[in-house]
Symmetry: C2
Subunit: 334 residues, 2 copies
DNA sequence: ACAAAAAATGGTAGCGCTGCCAAAAAAACC
DNA sequence: GGTTTTTTTGGCAGCGCTACCATTTTTTGT
């Protein structure tokens, strides 16, 4: 029995050249539509390409010409919709520009990030896209030495290596606090997830506290749910927080997933929102606009971050930081 | 002003060999830990690697050895959490086996899929992973000729090219209908999204209708929301469906996103669930377990699909179809 | 101590393509 | 008609690495 599911040798450019009765470089020129060739030659080559079912080998092409047109994404998670959103924005731009997206998932672990960046660099990508600015020394050193473009996304509070695209999480945290204060809330709690791993959530938290402090206030209580953010974590987190601090009048969540969980908790327990308890999230997920009461939150430019980063990379733009800002959505839960 | 953000020449294996005072092949053997070499040589090589900051060039390595260890995902969408889930499962396995994930997004367009598959094949991937069995003739031809492994995911109703991993959407649709019938619902409606594009949702719909028919029943009404599935689409869809068919006692949604929208509509309008209207979804998203009433739905093996497909590919397993099944979650909305 | 076996190492021919250069063919000019 | 230009074309040297083979060094056996 033949193992016919295994690899078969592929057609090469030399075979196409032979079949078309022209030189290899001519085939190469025709296929890349680069340099000059006659109409007649073009047809002959294309006919052979069709007939043989030739698929160019980009591995070889890249090696010969340098410039892989590969863009590497090293992202913390795929569960948190934020990162698929970034990938979505970027992938549209990259595909339109004949670039190819490659990715790995770090699980918010800087050591893992370092290992994955090393693996990525082996592909000699055009650019490496990372989340935020917090990386190990090893990661930074490799990236600097690599000579490839680096884009750090979804953060602006820190020092960029090369390109940075996103918004200030600290400012978002501040804006959230100022909004709640403006609305008259004073006994404000926080429900978050693992802040050591998610440094951007930590920056929002810090900005939030900073703005509270500036107004002479402070967090009245805090509950950290172990593990990554999730709707369930938000629900449990709020339940625990309220058990300890029953008289809160508002809660700031580390993101919309968590906030939705909190909202569901209120719905289930019959806690009137926002009259008895106001809720405020972060991210501006679509789902938050369709809940019985739209979620009060901050909409972040996730897809745009991917798009802009990809555009800068394909255009080989000079190093820069692009602030895409954020938008406060008043909603109805605060 | 120097454009120092541009590419700088990278260290090559030959330079490392020179610096370590050994031959190129020795360096190659040490780095891949393949073949034999003395402890002393190993240390000398590693020292040089460290000192020069050498990063192997996998483009060259792949060309020389064949076998790119690249796995290509051509997926319909990144907005629908289903696909990030599959990627997540697969990426963990691939990373553990020194493989690299590459992806492109088709937007549910078969023509685009064909173009993207062609682009992917140029990278000579170890395998190409696709959603479902519905592909253009061109896509099928290319994949067959490519000699690389092909895995068709999240569907089992059709003829596989090579590997297939997932569950039967038709059976899931049937199981959903049987459950609702068992619960005594008879005036059942359907709210879905673009079924021409999402052929797996279409198969669930067909299975659902089939089971209704087998019980002498039929869909009492149907509302199709234009565009991809979304929570908002579900909410609007249910609203429109109820406007036309006010006396339904249950609604089947094309997936959980849509069902959540429907649930929010009921919450907002004060429609008692499930006493006045039962709701049933598909996918078993985490969020559906945390809503005030857990969503009645079918949990699909999304992460496992990615995992198993990746495992089969790295193990170079023979062609086969793997049924990962699905699990009906009774929930509280039906 | 000498032969035989095993381990360690280096040289080099490609992998399939692109870039450069020179040669050939076609077009344009006086 | 005989150049001078311009357009097409083919040849071939790498890109950086791995696979294979030959050679050298070390270990083992008697």
């Amino acid at each position: 029995m033949t193992l016919d599911y295994r690899h078969q040798p592929a057609v090469t450019l030399a075979e196409v050249a032979q079949a078309a009765g022209v030189g290899e470089s001519t085939v190469s020129r025709v296929l890349r539509n680069h340099g000059s060739f006659s109409r007649k030659t073009r047809d002959r080559v294309m006919e052979a390409v069709e007939r043989l079912g030739y698929v160019p080998n980009r591995i070889a092409g890249t090696l010969a010409s340098a410039g892989s047109r590969l863009v590497a994404f090293v992202i913390p998670s795929l569960s948190n919709i934020v990162f698929p959103d970034v990938l979505r924005g970027a992938s549209a731009v990259l595909e339109a520009n004949q670039h190819q997206a490659v990715f790995s998932v770090t699980d918010y672990d800087p050591e893992r990030e370092e290992a994955l960046v090393a693996a990525m660099l082996a592909w000699r990508p055009t650019a490496v896209m990372l989340a935020g600015f917090e990386h190990t020394q090893g990661t930074l050193k490799m990236l600097r030495a690599s000579g490839c473009r680096v884009a750090e996304l979804l953060d602006l509070d820190g020092t960029a290596l090369d390109l940075a695209v996103g918004f200030s999480n600290r400012a978002a945290g501040r804006a959230s606090a100022e909004f709640l204060l403006r609305r008259g809330y004073r006994r404000i709690g926080y429900v978050g997830h693992d802040l050591d791993r998610d440094t951007r959530a930590a920056k929002r938290h810090d900005g939030f506290c900073e703005a509270l402090g500036a107004a002479g206030a402070a967090l009245a209580g805090r509950e950290i749910h172990a593990g990554p953010s999730s709707v369930e974590g938000g629900r449990l987190g709020l339940e625990r927080l309220l058990a300890r601090y029953p008289d809160l009048d508002a809660v700031y969540f580390s993101n919309d997933d968590m906030a939705l969980g909190g909202y569901f908790h209120c719905l289930a327990r019959g806690i009137p929102v926002p009259s008895a308890l106001a809720l405020f999230g972060h991210n501006g997920l679509d789902i938050g606009r369709v809940t019985p009461q739209p979620l009060s939150t901050i909409r972040t430019p996730r897809v745009a971050t991917g798009q802009v980063a990809a555009e800068l990379v394909v255009a080989d733009a000079p190093p820069q930081a692009v602030d895409l800002g954020f938008e406060l959505i008043e909603g109805a839960t605060a």
